[in-house]
Amino acid sequence: MSGHRGTEVRIAGFGGQGVILSGMILGRAVSIFENKHATLMQSFGPEARGGACSAQVILSDEKILYPYVKAPDVLVVMSQPALRTYLPTLREGGKLIYEQDLVKLEEGDELPEGATCYGVPATKIAEGLRRRIVLNIVMVGFISAVAPMVSMESARKAVLHSVPRGTEALNGRAFDMGYRYGVENYGGES
């Protein structure tokens, strides 16, 4: 059942890292600023307790029928347990994006065939801006550079649209720095 699937993205990490907000920003970028389709399902219940948190985002040109992520095309992890849980689900040829100070790829972490991985020191970049809370926004900027699913402009607009009034400038900066890190280290893909 390969058709009608769209791009599946799973973003996972600890609660409080802004995982869901990142997913909402991607969803907004696609559905509001590019007028295409996106769904976001968040994991509720016991699995959302104990610190684990995960967002399932599907982006598509057509209406999305099945809103759950089974084999992500893009897997974004911000914690070691998240890597352990979701790496086996990454699709062949998919992209693994990880926060390189929080997540270590170890021996035995087998990537599916054709998969590529992208590390970013998002926490350090956020700390450079003196607001650790913008970690997830740095990640969104980085994702936009290395796994572009929407235009950089739409993603940036969605960031500014999603954060509290008065924090736009610093969040915009956080996005830019994540994006720039992606372009400078991985050449970008746009």
Binding site: H4, S31, T39, L40, F44, G45, I64, L65
Partner: protein, 386 residues
């Protein structure tokens, strides 16, 4: 004076079904809600609590669902459009007052964001286990109206429609979301306020001396309401009552009342079914709510494999659109009807009843807690080839 149109959150949004439902209520003119928090419906009342003070409305968190469900009936008689929201056990507690709203003919909207049951069940997971409860939950006979959205956009649209039907027929109307639709974020386009059709309440134009609370105009089965506080001195009771609204303990009065209540809803007006490639299909899928999206994926796949598959997606689930379903299911080409639902077989009974043996009906049931794998529905569709 404050205008209803300014309250509408027009624009393009990326919000979940619960929030969309709350915005639909506001757009439809709802200005009072009472509720008691319960997962997965809580976001609806949280949204209303934040938004109502900005549009001249009020949300009150009552002490329980019993209080919430009757406070909205009181508010409706106070002249305001009102709704309550709950899930699972909370909806079970509200059943008595759905009956009260039905017999007193009080326009009210009841949002049920379904979760897994019975009892506490799986609070944070989807199910469609309250379908029969939506029809038969309160004791006695009464006309049931229930709408079933499959996306946040439809959660908005159908909530507006629920309020309109409630006013048109003076009856409780239920909006049956489920956890998946309630917690799914998706694009919702809210049109400008003046492009949304909103039914106003039908108040009587008669002077108090000529007004009888439950007397209908010729040709109508829905009586006009009187405004409280304007000298009509009307009486409203949950007891069987006559045209004056007075309790009368006679079988004859009960018969008159019930015949009118059961007949007052115009089936053609309330029925909404989305039909896709139904003419001449070999297999017909009948579905509703979140399951209809998953089923659609299976249907597309089956069509790619060369099967002619039709889809009836029920937006109105109660009253069951029996005429239309019967007509489509019994057209000669249909060899099998497939009914996927997130329960162990509820609406399939209605389908079986109206198909009446004309062709086999296959239930693709699911105990809830997740949605179907599309493959399972595909398999049931493809069985016709074997």
């Amino acid at each position: 004076m404050y205008s209803i149109k300014e309250a509408v959150l027009s624009g393009i949004h990326f919000i979940d079904g619960d929030v969309a439902c709350a915005e639909g209520a506001i757009a439809a003119g709802c200005r009072f809600s009472a509720g008691y928090p319960i997962t997965p419906s809580t976001e609806v009342v949280e949204r209303l609590a934040a938004r109502f003070p900005m549009v001249g409305g009020m949300f009150v968190q009552m002490e329980d669902e019993l209080a919430s469900s009757i406070a909205i009936i009181g508010a409706a008689w106070g002249g305001v459009k009102a709704m309550t929201v709950s899930s699972g056990p909370g909806i079970s507690l509200m059943q008595e007052h759905i009956g009260l709203a039905a017999i007193t003919e009080t326009p009210t909207v009841w949002v049920n964001v379904q979760r897994c049951g019975p009892s506490t069940g799986l609070p944070t997971q989807p199910a469609q286990g309250d379908m029969m409860q939506a029809q038969w939950g309160s004791h006695g006979d009464y006309p049931s109206l229930a709408l079933c959205p499959n996306s946040p956009q439809e959660a908005f649209d159908l909530t507006v429609r629920a309020f309109n039907l409630a006013e048109r027929y003076r009856t409780p109307v239920m909006v049956l979301l489920d956890e998946a639709v309630g917690h799914m974020l998706e694009k919702v386009v809210i049109p400008p306020g003046d492009e949304i059709d909103v039914d106003a309440r039908h108040f009587t134009s008669k002077p108090p001396k000529e007004y009888r609370a439950y007397e209908c105009a010729p040709g109508s089965l829905v009586p006009d309401m009187a405004r409280t506080g304007e000298g009509y001195y009307f009486h409203v009771t949950g007891l069987t009552h006559d045209e004056r609204g007075y309790p009368i303990m006679l079988a004859e009065v009960q018969r008159r009342l019930m015949e009118r209540l059961m007949a007052k809803i115009d089936l053609d007006d309330v029925t909404q079914v989305v039909q896709s490639q139904v003419d001449g299909c070999e297999v017909l899928v009948v579905s509703y709510g979140i399951t209809s999206r998953v089923a659609e994926r299976a249907i597309l796949e089956a069509r790619e494999q060369g099967l002619r598959v039709g889809h009836l997606r029920l937006l109105t689930v109660w009253p069951f659109p029996e005429k239309l379903v019967a007509e489509r299911c019994t057209q000669g080409s249909v060899q099998r009807v497939v009914v996927p639902e997130l329960n162990m077989g509820q609406m399939v009974r209605e389908v079986e009843r109206v198909v009446a043996g004309a062709c086999p009906v296959t239930l693709v049931g699911h105990p809830g807690g997740a949605v179907h794998e599309p493959e399972v529905i595909l398999e049931a569709i493809m069985e016709v080839r074997q």
